[in-house]
């Protein structure tokens, strides 16, 4: 067990859905043979002019991450798309990111070898991750939207780089951070990256970090 390296590619399956729907995502994943997942909360944005004026455009999201075999992930994505109606606007998104290796996932059933991995096509989308100090996420989202990004998900997190370690009173501090995740078409990636990095001076030390991943398959993105 655990030595499945030869039997298939691993992918990270990621689903971002409205608050409360993660339970459903998990049950769909289990039906498809995916063994487990990790759920956490995030914040998405809505595009609605009235709500933006009222400043009520934040919406709570749940994010499900699961590392699994790509053949299983494909089936799971199809099932998610159908059962959570991701093809309709505002119902959430799901995508996979290739993973190089994994430890600790035990699949009870052998992966279905007969199913051909469809695709092999070039990645159409990138996932851009920006990690900045708490409070800056909004600026990142604004910058990304100004050059064509459709939306973003913000996750609260903690962390510390070499520029900040502190002890206040009797507690060790890890400053609060925000992770911004933007899914963008590959053509837009460069524009978004350079705009965000320019607006937030990411290249200067202590201002945050940014990285880009290739995304295999996406569901629920619409233009």
């Amino acid at each position: 067990m655990g030595n499945n390296a030869g039997s298939g590619e691993w992918v990270l399956l990621c689903a971002i859905v409205n608050f409360g729907a993660a339970g459903k995502v998990m049950s769909v994943l289990r039906q498809q043979g995916v063994t487990g997942g990790t759920i956490f909360l995030g914040k998405g944005t809505v595009r609605n002019h009235l709500l933006e004026i009222l400043d009520l455009n934040d919406i709570r999201k749940e994010i499900v991450l699961s590392v699994t075999l790509s053949s299983l992930a494909d089936r799971a994505l199809e099932a998610l798309n159908k059962q959570l109606t991701l093809y309709k606007p505002h119902h959430g998104i799901a995508f996979t990111i290739p993973v190089k290796g994994q430890i600790g996932i035990h699949h009870p059933e052998a992966p279905d070898q007969s199913e051909e991995r469809r695709g092999g096509n070039k990645p159409m989308h990138n996932a851009i991750f920006v990690i900045v100090d708490k409070g800056k996420a909004e600026e990142v989202v604004e910058a990304a939207k100004s050059v064509g990004a459709r939306g973003a998900t913000v996750i609260n997190a903690r962390g510390s780089g070499i520029h900040e370690t502190q002890k206040l009173f009797a507690m060790s501090i890890e400053p609060e951070k925000e992770i911004v995740m933007i899914l963008a078409q590959t053509e837009l990636t460069d524009a978004i990256v350079s705009k965000v990095s320019e607006e937030l001076q990411i290249e200067e030390p202590g201002k945050g970090i940014m990285f880009i991943l290739n995304v295999d398959k996406t569901y629920g993105l619409y233009d």
């Binding site: 993660a22 909360l41 809505v46 009235l50 009797a170 060790s172 501090i173 890890e174 609060e176």
Partner: protein
């Protein structure tokens, strides 16, 4: 539009149960006058609209302010600064709380002026301020919550022995009265702002809760200490139950509106001023974020005014009339049963309950579900109302017969239950006793007391809030105990 609609739907589900119950009672046991019923429905409508707006306001106004201040306080890394800020914030927030002024006014009446309204308000505010500060110190110095609560309640017990039973009821009620719809969200956010900086994830989760519980104990201590120094031993005086007999439907709302609006402005003012102060000297938010918070405060104001107008003008009279007519039927079990059902339903419409359950979900990443917490809270408050009815209808039963064992159980539980739930439970005690309980349930209890010969409206009215603040402590800690047992992993060998 779905954000607005979703929130509206949530609120609708929260307010519908109590409305339906009153309507059923109207057609069966306790028929209400036509104009009263229309006022009740109008009130329910205002409550739904108001609560929706208020919750948005808390989300983008009050909570960010609390978080930012908690953060800024801790980052200062100066003991005197945290201490001073805690004292000032605690004092002004509590002195601006409208519920406290109402309670103090009633106390002045029953003590025939021995305890003046002003002195009570000031003393309670000092108590809250001191304990709020201690609560903040507890978080930054990593002291265990259960030990601190044990000490505080032990002190209350010792002082309580020397105090008269009437004052004990008042003091426990004071703790409920000071933790109103504005204070609780702010204190919750403040605690989260301080503890979210912690490196240890579990500690940061656990210490997000408990501050409200500690601070509200300050009010109990303050009033008990005060009673020891005043010579007015027993409570005398009484209060006539007033049911507005005006047959107008709109007039009571118009009459309430300016008073409520004035009160809320007063209550929001300390928050606004400290926020502006912090903004100028410490946090310096970007313009956009600053504007968003100001908008949030505006929503909070509008929402709360609509909500409280609806409650005061629409629900209060109905509550006391239902209580009165029900007790006149002379069927004690019926009063207990209806009390239980009302308790179950009313708590769902309590504004701060929503804020607390949302924060629980956020802090635990959805591990502790809102519905389950609401369910436990609801059962707890139902019991509280029933026990209060028992106390009013049966002359020999005193408040401390419930309070003493209740608090002994709560404190003992806090040593076996996961600390996260200890904090949540003691916060929920303060949360449950918000404006909805303080008006509707209290009015119901007073109505019952009015119809019962052996009971005194005002004196038996005291203590209802205390009960509502007590039972969640037990209910939620039991819930935590169940979580502890259930969350052991299955299918994995334990070492």
């Amino acid at each position: 539009m779905n954000v607005l609609f979703q929130k509206f739907k949530e609120v609708l589900f929260a307010v519908t149960p109590v409305t339906v119950i009153v309507l059923i009672l109207n057609f069966t046991l306790t028929p209400l006058d036509y104009h009263l019923l229309v006022r009740f429905l109008l009130g329910a409508f205002l409550i739904i609209i108001g609560l929706t707006i208020f919750l948005f306001g808390v989300e983008i106004g009050i909570t960010p302010i609390g978080n930012l201040m908690g953060n800024a306080l801790t980052r200062s890394n100066k003991v005197w600064f945290v201490g001073l800020a805690g004292l000032i914030l605690g004092f002004f927030i509590s002195i601006a709380e409208p519920d406290l002024h109402i309670l103090a006014g009633q106390v002045q009446t029953v003590t025939a002026g021995v305890l003046s309204q002003t002195s009570i308000v000031v003393v309670v505010s000092v108590g809250i301020a001191v304990l709020l500060t201690l609560g903040l110190f507890r978080i930054v110095y990593n002291l265990p919550l259960n030990k601190m609560l044990t000490l505080i309640y032990l002190l209350i017990l010792i002082l309580g022995i020397f105090s008269s039973s009437g004052f004990i009821a008042i003091s426990f009620d004071a703790s409920g009265a000071t933790t109103g719809a504005l204070t609780v969200p702010f204190m919750l956010a403040l605690a989260y702002g301080v503890s979210s900086l912690k490196k240890n994830g579990t500690a940061s989760e656990e210490d997000s809760f408990g501050l409200v519980g500690v601070a509200s104990a300050g009010a109990i201590l303050a009033v008990i200490v005060m009673s020891l120094f005043s010579r007015g031993d027993e409570l005398s005086g009484s209060l006539e139950l007033q049911i507005t007999q005006s047959s107008s439907i709109i007039a009571p709302f118009l009459h309430e509106l300016p008073t409520v609006a004035g009160n809320i402005i007063l209550a929001l003012l300390p928050l606004l001023i400290t926020f502006l102060f912090f903004q100028k000297f410490s946090i310096q938010l970007p313009r956009r974020a600053f504007k968003k918070i100001i908008k949030g405060l505006l929503y909070t104001f509008i929402g709360l005014v609509l909500f409280l107008t609806g409650v005061n003008a629409g629900f209060m009279d109905v509550g006391s009339l239902v209580g009165y007519r029900l007790a006149m039927l002379e069927q004690p079990w019926l009063v207990f049963l209806i009390g239980y059902i009302l308790g179950l339903a009313v708590i769902l419409a309590e504004p701060a309950v929503y804020v607390l359950t949302t924060q629980i979900e956020n802090v635990t990443s959805g591990y502790v579900k809102r519905r389950i917490v609401l369910f436990a809270l609801s059962l707890g408050v139902g019991c509280a109302v029933t026990l209060s009815m028992v106390r009013i209808l049966i002359p020999g039963v005193h408040l401390w017969h419930f309070l003493l064992p209740g608090y002994i159980i709560s404190i003992s539980l806090s040593y076996v239950v996961p600390s996260l739930f200890v904090g949540i439970a003691f916060d929920a005690g303060g949360v449950a006793s918000g404006p909805m309980t303080a008006t509707f349930v209290l009015a119901f209890a007073q109505g019952v007391a009015e119809a019962t010969e052996s009971a005194n409206v005002l004196i038996d009215g005291f203590g209802v809030i205390a009960m509502v603040a007590l039972t969640p402590l037990i209910a939620l800690q039991v819930l935590g105990f169940i979580y502890k047992i259930k969350s052991q992993k299955v299918g994995v060998d334990h070492g």
